[in-house]
Amino acid sequence: MQEFLEFTLGGIAVGMIYAAVALSLVLIWRGTRVLNYSQGGMAMFTTYIAWLVIRHTGNYWLGFVVALASGLALGAILERTVVRPTEGKAPLNSVIVTIGLLIFLEGLAGIIFGGQYRSFPAAFSVTGLKIGGVALGISSSDVFTAVAVLAAAAALALVFRYAAVGLRLRATAFSQSVSRLLGVRIGRVLTLGWALAGLFGALAGVLVTPSTFLYPNSMDAIFVLGFTAAVIGGLDSPVGAVVGGVLLGVVLSYAGGYIGSELVLVYGLVVLALVLMIRPSGLFSAATTRRV
């Protein structure tokens, strides 16, 4: 029972990070039907920027904010420069461009920052929390992770629901041509979608890196698991992304805890394969067919 509690809470905490990555993928997918394979690379890069800021100023929160801001900027810049030319072309074009972007970003990080593993600080203590002598399997840092992702997701949901810009984002996601007929400047909307994706990726990066170390490939595994979470949720549902992330986190935590933790990434791929076999459209998607 004690173990079960620890694995559950620990799984939810890790799942929040998958949820953030999944949200970043969903934000781009639903607007453009582009799967951004460079999302992990972008998050790694913004985490390096945070690492630099923290090392030079000693201020974690400054690094945190700079990471999020550079995630926004990086997303917008990449959409305008590299991704825009693939708009309206065959889906394979954007696949190749974003994979190329991933390789480029990881190579560039290696050149600038070196390939060695670097430790990245957590915002709060990573020692396990206890209630009345019972270990919960999570730390203050995990609680912060969950709160930060949930707050960001809730803010996104509010913007989607109530703000004019959120309505533009949704209308464009569902029908670009109708949105253009109604005068929505979809170019700006797509840039904004990428910027928001960059923000959520950056958030995932700074939250997960204290437990993975920072190196040019440090986000690869997280990206795969975040992608799995997005697929579980249906790829175009923000709610599905969060639920998928938490589900995956908990399942992998049980698998890691009860079976053995060496093969967590493999378990993740098994979950992905199972979802694709049983319910390929995901748990929260209305769509019945998919192009990629």
Partner: protein
């Protein structure tokens, strides 16, 4: 009539590569009138509307709205310049609610107060939409969707309304209602309407003027009543 035209299409040549679908088409619509665009399938009616709204780039010619040439601009910029296009097959965003569909229509051209006023206007004019405003647009019937897309097009306070086959797939009673609505919009709001229709009889019933397209050229152009009275034209092109 000495009014400057609200919409003037001059010598448009356009198509999807290869043979042009529109081969030197000119249309003039005076403000506050309904112009029926008639012709068989493949005559170029839909392409004409798609060229005006910017989805098809003309190879030649001008599209003047209130005197400004909008040809070869992007669809979103043309919409912002006051051209509302209701495409065939309606274009309701089914995942959004009725109210959200309406709100999208006003985003581009109106400020916050204007958006609220436009929404109130829409609900006053279309009580049916007010009753269903929280429902997903997917739950509306075909006729209700047609009313929604027209109401949504009006949200931007357009100068020119382009309607592509608004009667398509509707029951006869609903067709009459939609035609009545278009007539009201001209009479009450002074809207300039370009009405593409297969249903020539209904369209000419409310139109002021009309033209017949055949294989990308204008083969007849006259007052609506004169077109409707032309037996040869009706036999040849209009099918009634």
């Amino acid at each position: 009539m000495t009014d400057a035209p609200a919409l003037a299409i001059e010598d448009i040549v356009a198509g999807y590569g290869g043979v042009p679908v529109l081969d030197g088409v000119s249309v003039t619509a005076r403000p506050g009138t309904i112009t029926a665009v008639l012709g068989a399938n493949g005559a170029g009616k839909t392409t004409l509307l798609r060229t005006i709204s910017g989805f098809v780039r003309p190879r030649r010619g001008r599209v003047l709205v209130g005197g400004t040439d909008l040809a070869r601009r992007r669809p979103e910029d043309i919409a912002r310049a006051g051209v509302a296009h209701v495409p065939e097959g309606q274009g309701v965003i089914t995942e959004l609610t009725v109210e959200e569909n309406l709100r999208v229509g006003a985003l581009a051209t109106r400020d916050r107060a204007g958006r609220t006023a436009a929404l109130d206007d829409a609900y006053r004019r279309f009580p049916l939409l007010a009753e269903r405003k929280r429902r997903p647009a997917a739950t509306l019937s075909g006729g209700e969707r047609q009313i929604l897309v027209i109401a949504r097009a009006l949200m931007s306070a357009p100068r020119v309304l382009l309607l592509d086959e608004p009667s398509l797939g509707l029951a006869p009673k609903m067709v009459a209602q939609v035609m009545d609505l278009i007539r009201q919009l001209r009479d009450d709001v002074g809207l300039t309407v370009l009405l593409v229709e297969q249903n020539a009889r209904s369209a000419l019933g409310i139109a002021d003027t009309g033209l017949v397209l055949n294989l990308g050229k204008v083969v007849a152009e006259d007052d609506a009543s004169a077109l409707a009275a032309d037996v040869g034209l009706r036999r040849h092109y209009l099918g009634f």
